[in-house]
């Protein structure tokens, strides 16, 4: 027995000596020669679903053609993108062009893994304030989003007409309309109160429009917004399923006629249009009292140039990022992907050509970036927000207590 364990221990020691050799053996594959002759650029993004996958791929290829390179593109699911990027950052294998969801940009920029776009003289004028806010870290712009989005109220025209209800514009109207539209297996409204960042994102327009702020969520303004959501669930106008639904589940409820209204974004338009006999409209999300302006949260993905250490490739990558953000690309991407061009200068033209997206186009002008105030600390605030939402909607605490607890927590 004793002899055995001694052998095992000695074996482990031997292996420990061999280990570093194995590990260093894997790490040395990155130092590509940095001559000026760049032929291919690697690209990483999370557009795994059609039509986005092809639309973005085509745009990238067109830009690559202009820059005289070819694209080696990799698409992975949204949930694993940041993990992948962190892995690549530590093994020094970051792609030449990287797509990041806008609330993640500052966190990645803060690590030093991204190059400021000013290094490559990429123009940043004409963009909506929120878009630049989201792309900026420590005063420098690191990423630009060609098209952006936000959320609004989708309503089933037939169901509303049958109940004699107008699309609501205030919270009181929303509660009344939702109550009237609830009967049998049909709920008045569906939204996403999931215990993830998606739940926080859906709550933001209600919170912000009423004067709430993510720096401190234990305020009466935010409590009023949370009270609205709590009332909707408590009264039965919204299913308690909202606690476990993602935005895609919310869309499914709406499509199935189980929710007469829903909070969702323009990326749901293609699947909604495919449904036979579904007659829907889109309006701004209701505000507490008539006359308040809605503050919409800004969504959308930015394109960045990671610090790969290869200057020639980075310069070419910057050309791609710049090309993805020209007026022409923005308009064509926005139209194909049902999103909004991020340059406010294009809004009027785009609205006229795409009336269905007019509501979103209007909201984007004043939309607010989630990381605008807290930067890389946004995830902490987002966690507090969804924690409070879940506590209040399950009835474990009143909205104001739930917010206070979440604000104090950790």
């Amino acid at each position: 027995m004793k002899r055995n364990s001694l052998t095992v221990r000695a074996g482990l020691a031997l292996a420990a000596i061999a280990l570093p050799a194995v590990l260093t053996g894997c790490g040395n594959s990155t130092s590509a020669s940095s001559n000026g002759d760049v032929k291919t650029l690697s690209v990483l993004d999370y557009y795994t679903n059609e039509p986005d996958k092809t639309v973005i791929g085509d745009a990238l290829n067109q830009c690559a053609q202009k820059a005289g390179v070819t694209i080696d593109r990799q698409t992975i699911t949204g949930a694993s993108l940041i993990q992948k990027v962190l892995q690549q950052a530590s093994s020094k294998t970051l792609p030449d062009v990287l797509m990041l969801d806008n609330p993640d940009l500052q966190q990645i920029a803060s690590t030093g893994a991204l190059a400021p776009l000013s290094d490559f003289k990429i123009p940043t004028d004409g963009f909506a304030d929120g878009v630049l806010q989201a792309g900026t870290y420590n005063g420098k712009v690191y990423g630009l989003a060609p098209t952006v989005n936000t959320i609004a109220l989708f309503y089933n025209k037939d169901l509303l007409a049958k109940a004699g209800v107008q699309p609501p514009t205030t919270w009181d109207e929303l509660k009344a309309a939702a109550a009237k539209l609830t009967s049998g297996g049909q709920y008045g409204i569906a939204f996403d109160a999931n215990a993830t960042y998606e739940g926080s994102w859906q709550f933001l327009p209600f919170m912000w429009s009423n004067g709430g702020d993510e720096k401190n969520i234990a305020t009466p303004q935010t409590a009023e917004a949370l009270q609205l959501w709590t009332d909707l669930v408590k009264s039965g106008s919204a299913s308690s399923g909202v606690l476990n639904w993602k935005q895609a589940d919310v869309k499914d409820q709406f499509v199935a006629g189980k929710a007469a209204m829903m909070v969702n974004g323009p990326w749901q338009i293609p699947p909604l249009d495919k449904v036979q006999g579904l007659n829907y409209g889109i309006v701004q999300l209701p505000v507490k009292t008539a006359g308040q302006t809605e503050v919409a949260p800004l969504g959308g993905e930015t394109w960045t140039v990671p610090q790969t250490g290869n200057k020639a490739k980075q310069a070419k990558a910057a050309e791609i990022v710049s090309c993805m953000n020209t007026d022409q690309t923005q308009l064509s991407l926005a139209k194909q992907r049902n999103t909004v061009p991020s340059k406010t200068t294009l809004a009027a033209q785009f609205s006229a050509e795409n009336p269905k997206l007019a509501v979103f186009t209007n909201l984007i002008k004043s939309a607010r970036a989630r990381t605008g105030e807290l930067g890389a600390d946004w995830p902490k605030a987002a966690t507090k927000i969804y924690t409070a939402i879940q506590t209040a909607l399950t009835g474990k605490a009143s909205p104001s207590d739930a917010l206070q607890q979440a604000q104090n927590g950790q």
């Binding site: 074996g11 061999a18 280990l19």
Partner: protein, 319 residues
């Protein structure tokens, strides 16, 4: 391993048969062979077991965030991560949930598993087919079965609620996954379903080892049915039972995928366990230091049961 070595040593010819230097050389070569056989296993253990464990341990004492991946800098913070994790309001909830989840799952899996194993001990037509069908939950990818269960348990359109409402057992849909008092119960229920095949398989194997003569003898003494189970099956099965239970506890403590697929730890953390919270800290909030600290606490808890298992199995061998 031990027995093999000693038996080989014993069968070796008496020492005086060979001259000393040759014997020594032979001995050295034999040691070398032993090392050679050991090396692959040792390298494997060090790479895929030792390295992650050590790395995780080191990480839990560092401020390991997103920046660390690019800069490689992870400042040493001592026990700060542990203090943060233990002080967090979620910890006590997660610990209680972990205990309830584990106890509930094990109790359910074991009782149902044992009942099925005893049932299948009797040979009847199609018993083999049925027994292999029982393995199905084990063969399905958990994310897939999790998605199906999420639909079954849905409050409004779930199959279970439609069934219950149609039978007038409940007036309206039960919020299995969205009520703070039911979410953990639902998750435990699904985990029991997942764990039954493991319990049936091992316990059935144990039952096969009990000689039929014992039952015959017991029957002569008038012990049949429940009494035969109580006085023959149970005592004979005890070593297997302890193995099943302890392994079950260790497997259940670290369950992650089912909870993530069904509730994501919600609503309001009511199904949050140490494993899911550790995952959320590391891979949703990217606070790897705190995530690994919490992970290590879980490893420590599992270790207690692993030691119990090792002692139980050693006693089993000695018997």
């Amino acid at each position: 391993m031990t027995t093999a070595t000693t038996s080989r040593v014993r069968t070796r010819p008496p020492a005086s048969a060979e001259p000393a230097p040759r014997r020594r050389r032979k001995l050295r070569r034999e040691t070398l062979y032993q090392w050679g056989f050991l090396l692959p296993a040792a390298v494997y253990l060090a790479l895929f077991f030792g390295y992650p464990v050590v790395k995780n341990l080191v990480m839990s004492f560092q401020d390991y965030g997103t920046a660390t991946f690019y800069t490689g800098e992870a400042p040493w913070v001592g026990f700060e991560n542990y203090a943060k994790v233990l002080r967090s309001s979620i910890f006590s909830t997660a610990l209680t949930n972990t205990a309830l989840f584990t106890a509930g799952s094990i109790a359910g899996q074991f009782v149902i598993g044992l009942a099925l194993a005893v049932f299948f001990r009797k040979r009847f037509p199609l018993s083999g087919v049925l027994r292999s069908l029982l393995l199905l939950p084990w063969l399905l990818p958990l994310i897939a079965s999790g998605a199906v269960w999420k639909w079954i348990l849905d409050k409004d359109s779930g199959a279970l609620n439609q069934f219950l409402v149609a039978l007038h057992v409940v007036p309206t849909g039960v919020p299995w996954l969205t009520s703070t008092s039911l979410a953990l119960v639902a998750v435990v229920g699904v985990n029991i379903w997942v764990g039954i095949p493991f319990n049936v398989t091992i316990l059935y194997g144990g039952l096969q080892d009990i000689p039929d003569e014992l039952y015959e003898a017991a029957a002569l003494d008038g012990a049949t049915g429940w009494r035969a189970f109580r006085h023959v099956t149970w005592p004979m099965l005890r070593p297997v039972v302890s193995v099943v239970l302890v392994l079950g506890v260790v497997y259940t403590l670290k369950v992650l995928d089912i909870i993530l697929a069904l509730t994501g730890g919600g609503p309001a953390n009511s199904s949050q366990t140490i494993a899911t919270e550790s995952y959320a800290l590391s891979f949703a909030e990217f606070r790897f230091g705190e995530g690994s600290a919490l992970g290590n606490i879980l490893v420590l808890i599992s270790l207690v049961f692993a030691v119990v298992y090792l002692r139980a199995s050693r006693r089993g061998v000695e018997d």
